[in-house]
Symmetry: C2
């Protein structure tokens, strides 16, 4: 094939509130309307079309060139309709040359899952409401993905308070085609000791079922309720820490050791920190801690678990430096993503951006990072996707063999 199989490991989708409402168990609908009114304001006369055309807050931080490019995409796709309309979505993916995608929630700021359970385990809604909202999102997303089930790998939202319920929901999700795995919400930096972190034995049945059904664990950049003193430029590096936190809890909790096929994908949070913590864990802790303490949790070097089971979602916040550091991060551990339809991502110019990002990199490496790894990690049907890629995928000949001057 003279084209690459391009898979975006980081896309987003969400429904307008009046659609989500239909997917909620009936007993929660009234409460949901109150919740929506609290977030959006008066919804009695709301024109959803106008709402979808609103530009997200991140837009304000973009350069003039990027604004123009993004607004052209918005105009062409009638705002954020692709967030929930499968026809518009497929057209935009085609245009971008993307054969397959992994779908996170939070398509736009107005399309949060019901009761706001998403990247961050906020404390605003009760566990019961969070679980109800998650189920509604999963039902809706499963239906969206059915429009082309081999192309769209939806990620299930799973409330973790009730572990039995979580296991049931994960089985339901897999059975209903959500093979993008499970969203692992960021946990608060709690000081009261009340929160059970991912190293807690109570989650063992969750890891069991995720390994059994080949459902990766995904995290995504989020502010996790941390106070950044009003500085988004300071906050962004803290988000990038939060996204990776489960790595060391799962590592030292022995979860990767006991579940060698379980996968963890921290997404849209840069990748250079992987070099930091792998080096640190490998060298310092192993050298200076009692071997018996370490061996309780792990039998290999910490970085070996990373390379075997963890994958850096290289979307919006990735850059050429991570690609150049691919031998350290792992050329098999990098998953490109467009972040569609978020303005900090590459849509609607993914084709140009991947040529910039990967120019001068050996073809075999590019093939892994822009699609091959995601296909393997999430279990996409590559035979089916290659047929599509043969028509829409980026042409290999369009990638420069020499590094771009600016790199």
């Amino acid at each position: 094939m003279d084209r690459y199989l391009l898979i975006s490991q980081d896309c987003h989708a969400g429904a307008p509130w009046f659609i989500y409402r239909k997917y909620l168990d009936p007993q929660y609908r009234e409460e949901y309307e109150r919740w929506v009114t609290g977030v959006i304001g008066d919804i009695s006369n709301l024109d959803q079309t106008q709402m979808d055309k609103q530009v997200p807050a991140q837009y304000e931080t973009m350069s003039a060139d990027r604004k123009r490019e993004y607004l052209e995409g918005m105009e062409r796709s009638m705002g954020h309709l692709g967030n929930w309309d499968p026809t518009v979505r497929a057209r935009e993916l085609d245009r971008e040359g993307i054969a397959g995608e992994v779908i996170f929630p939070d398509g736009s700021q107005k399309n949060h899952p019901p009761f706001s359970y998403s990247f961050f385990k906020g404390k605003k809604a009760s566990p019961e409401l969070r679980a109800a909202g998650a189920r509604a999102h999963n039902r809706w997303l499963a239906e969206l993905c059915q429009s082309n089930p081999k192309r769209h790998a939806g990620i299930a939202l799973v409330a973790m308070e009730d572990v039995d319920e979580a296991v049931r929901e994960i089985r339901w999700a897999r059975k209903n085609g959500l093979f993008g795995g499970v969203l692992l919400p960021a946990l608060p930096f709690a000081t009261d000791g009340a929160e059970a972190f991912w190293n807690h034995p109570r989650y063992e049945p969750v890891w069991d079922v995720c390994e059994e059904l080949d459902m990766p664990l995904n995290t995504h950049a989020t502010n996790a309720g941390v106070n950044f003193g009003g500085s988004p430029l300071a906050g962004i590096i803290e988000n990038h820490f939060t996204t990776y936190r489960p790595f060391w809890f799962l590592l030292w909790g022995g979860v990767f050791e006991r579940h060698p096929k379980l996968k963890f994908c921290p997404t849209e949070s840069g990748g250079m920190q992987v070099i930091w913590f792998n080096n640190y864990f490998d060298e310092y802790l192993i050298k200076h801690r009692r071997p018996e303490d370490v061996k309780k949790a792990i039998t290999m070097k910490p970085s070996e678990y990373w390379h075997r089971q963890c994958f850096f979602g290289a979307s919006a916040h990735a850059s050429r430096m991570e690609i150049d550091a691919r031998d350290q991060i792992g050329v098999k551990n990098i998953l490109w993503g467009s972040d569609y339809p978020h303005p900090e991502g590459t849509w609607p110019a993914s084709q140009e951006r991947i040529r910039e990002l990967f120019s001068g990199i050996p073809e075999a490496d590019v093939r892994l990072m822009i699609g091959g790894n995601a296909a393997r990690v999430y279990g996409f049907d590559t035979e089916a996707l290659n047929k599509l890629a043969a028509k829409i995928g980026p042409k290999i000949s369009d990638f420069s063999a020499a590094p771009a001057a600016a790199a």
Copy 2:
């Protein structure tokens, strides 16, 4: 000189409670006794000598070899007496070949400053009590340092709630010989937005006076009240993040820009993360954020502020990998430390440990990292210290010119 000038940028000292008591303003003494009883238990018949001989909790995680080595030092120096007895302290420094030292608080677990204001801005005591405890510690420490004022650079504790009071205390500290600068406490990962972070304009008078008086800002590894799910192995990497947090708040708050001579020294938290955040800030944020947003805070590349004003305190949690990465971290930005008298440090075997750590490194680089940088950053009187170093300092000829086989 055929010997190196060795300065430990990370040492600790603290007084027993009954000594701290005398340095407290009288109106707080009764409250302090209640506080000590809460922390230590019944103090009416307490044998302080026994207390000082208690081994710290970290001891339990050490290898058998390290335990033996550490206990020999404890035996020889009568427990932790060097924590507060200047004669024992000087003898141990001599034995270690250390000509100068920077002194953090928390000598041992029983020698916390009054009301527990230390590395972490905990919320247990009121701001008034914290400030009173800080003043008592500073008075006591200033006296300890007077035993050899050019050798001991004490770090002042400064409560930051009342900025005018903080400025007064910093002036008092400098005038009374505490030229180690100021301890910047770790701030909680607050979610309520109530906490003023270091980018807040209210602290401007503090940065002014620290720059004027050449008082470095220091942070030190601490757990910052974060819940690690009972896993110290997971927690340690989170501590290492906390210690560095002020860097981005000071950076994006424009503090380094406005105060080009202000210095920041994150200590005992490893150094590989410097490569991560410098690369990330330099490349991603500058490339993808609006130039006008960035220029509001800074005019140079973020890493240039690091190299100009920030210094990695390479004590207990540092290892050969940081020394090998010195061109990226900055050979002028690494400050060796023994962590005396903490068991995770190198005391009482600093001489052997520095030979291992620096063997095969060019002499000029070693000279900077084990003393020259600290002398410059903290303003030690090198003429005075060199006289001492000529007698006790590690012999250059003892360092192998070729890298150690194990490195």
